[in-house]
Point group: C2
Chain length 337, copies 2
DNA sequence: GCTTTTAACGCACACGTGTGCAAGAGGTGG
DNA sequence: CCACCTCTTGCACACGTGTGCGTTAAAAGC
């Protein structure tokens, strides 16, 4: 029962043929007689022959595997992106190897080198929170493995990237709050050094400036991407002598945490305080009140990134012109504002 | 810049050695002089040598890759399971190839054979809604590829399985509703032929019987696993001449859909009608009111399934005794009941 | 009946790595 | 000075697949 996997040599032996002939027969090569082809195909079917991709990869010096590295597979955002990637790669006859860094730089590095060992045809990455050194990606590029970043990108590496218009999305979110009449608008921000977070912060600042709303640095609280950060940030904001009347959160999970803490403290939404999230995760439609948020179509991000990468793998021989795609965001107005 | 990946032959050439010697040096074989080892290791580091796993796999006749097939990667439940799988396989130095069937039987079959082509060391599967024929799994087993099913399992295949105690979880959920005083308890069920759905239905029926609550077949509505099914099912139930005062849903998404439809129709929860879900997804803590649900620890399911599979791969040579693990469920009581 | 063409298949090698065995160099003991 | 041993390295083959080229045999042409 062990290692029963049929090879072309098995087929060749049973038919008194050379394995080369079997190989050609299976690939419908012109130099093999129709009778032989028929016999080979019949036996292959009977023996459940499955070509050994490992051997083919070694021979062809390339695999049909794409590597994917994300911070956490179980996050709505990333799992939806991966779903988009899988749909594209499946159609193109590629497989994906998925790794999670668990927001750990060291693990991201190990994942990357392991994928390189597996000779992936290309890599799709969203980097960990604390990734600052990017040598591991440089190494892959040097080895000729194309990379496409999405969402959390590396600024200092010149490859294709797929992001959403964080700046613009944040701007629209905050503008919406201002136009609704909210005066003291706080921002529950993400890790400072991540580009997406900086861009959203910029959008926030820019909208304030545009509408001549004075900026108060007490109203920007830095945290991470989870609900706990939303709760902690909200707690901090409510302790201010002059607390905010509106919150723009770095993502929906943080917004939900903040909403929960606000509700616990008896605040009415959106009368006492308003909330805007970012991402349009499932939870934004489920929370009460439904959350106004910036939709970013995660599935499309994955799809686009995978398409860019596959195009580079199959066509981009030497003319590697990096393409940065910025997907549009859309403000979805619900009852939290 | 293309195909720059260093091989042991490159190293051998530069040091005027045979590649066999380099291979042994890198593996710290006793028959290689310390000086040579040092030179080899230094050059390997300098040239960014990454062992070619493809070649190693071919040579060793086994890979360090686990295949994973789920209906939909972007579902909370499955992405959390995959996260659990990845954590276990990562520690054991295995990689995972992830595929989604998109609830399509044909695609599941193609995924399975493709993974077999990639000579995965083992397979973890949760089957598609409409998978009835299981020949593709039989084929892999025949080829000596171990399989472990989780959640949505195949009854007619005798391999290790990881499920939660669906029957007992459902029983506890319905018992809770009965003890709370609800009289007409409906069940928004899943696809009839899936074992998990049948088991939950059994638990529902069993609790009714135990407490002498008359069974009304109008109160069981079959659907799928998404919010839309919850909305549709609820609609149907509210049109009954004698509508239910409590709902036990096949999962949290269905429950949320049902809650939304009930709220739209002016029903108060839990006064007019109560809801219990299944799964303890993130949304169950976010929906208003928070959903009473049966927790099933998705992460643990993935972890356990991966552990069973790895154990079978590394130890279970011929004594393949299938192990069925049934993880405990826990009723989490929140404000929807 | 001989040469030339063509059809069908086998041989050998390659991809990168690993391992049993042989071979060579150098040293030691008698 | 030779036999023997140890240390180090090279050679050859294997894994499964694919391909250029050579080889055989039969058919075709004159």
């Amino acid at each position: 029962m062990k290692n029963n996997q049929t090879t072309i040599k098995d087929i060749a032996r049973k038919l008194n043929l050379h394995h080369a002939t079997v190989s050609r027969a299976l690939r419908d090569h012109y130099g093999v007689s129709p009778q032989t082809k028929e016999k080979v195909n019949a036996l292959a079917k009977e023996l459940d022959y499955n070509p050994n991709s490992i051997a083919q990869s070694l021979k062809n010096q390339k695999t049909k595997t794409i590597g994917v590295v994300v911070p956490k597979i179980s996050h709505d955002f990333f799992s939806t992106v991966i779903s988009g990637i899988e749909d594209v790669t499946y159609k193109a006859d590629y497989s994906i190897m998925v790794c999670q860094s668990s927001e750990d730089y060291e693990r991201e590095v190990l994942n990357t080198y392991n994928l390189a060992s597996n000779r992936i045809a290309g890599l799709l990455v969203s980097i960990a929170q604390n990734t600052k050194n990017t040598q591991h990606f440089g190494s892959l590029l040097h080895q000729g493995v194309p990379i496409v970043f999405f969402d959390r990108v590396c600024d200092n590496i010149d490859v294709s990237k797929v992001v959403v218009d964080d700046y613009c999305g944040a701007y629209k979110a905050v503008e919406h709050l201002i136009l609704k009449g909210y005066k003291r608008i706080a921002h529950l921000a993400g890790p400072k050094h991540l580009t997406i977070c900086r861009n959203r912060l910029e959008g926030y600042l820019s909208a304030l400036k545009k509408y001549c709303v004075p900026f108060d640095e007490d109203l920007v609280v830095y945290g991470e991407f989870d609900r706990g950060s939303g709760i902690a940030g909200m707690k901090k904001l409510l302790q201010l002598s002059d607390p905010p009347d509106a919150i723009f959160a770095i993502n929906d999970h943080v917004a939900v945490g903040a909403i929960m803490h606000a509700k616990e403290n008896g605040l009415k939404i959106p009368d006492n305080i308003a909330f805007v999230g970012f991402g349009d995760d499932i939870i934004s439609t489920v929370v009460d009140p439904p959350l106004t948020t910036v939709a970013q179509n995660q599935y499309e991000i994955g799809k686009t990134a995978a398409e860019l990468l596959l195009d580079q793998i199959e066509n981009g021989q030497d003319t590697i012109v990096p393409i940065s795609k910025t997907l549009k965001t859309e403000l979805i107005i619900r009852l939290s504002t």
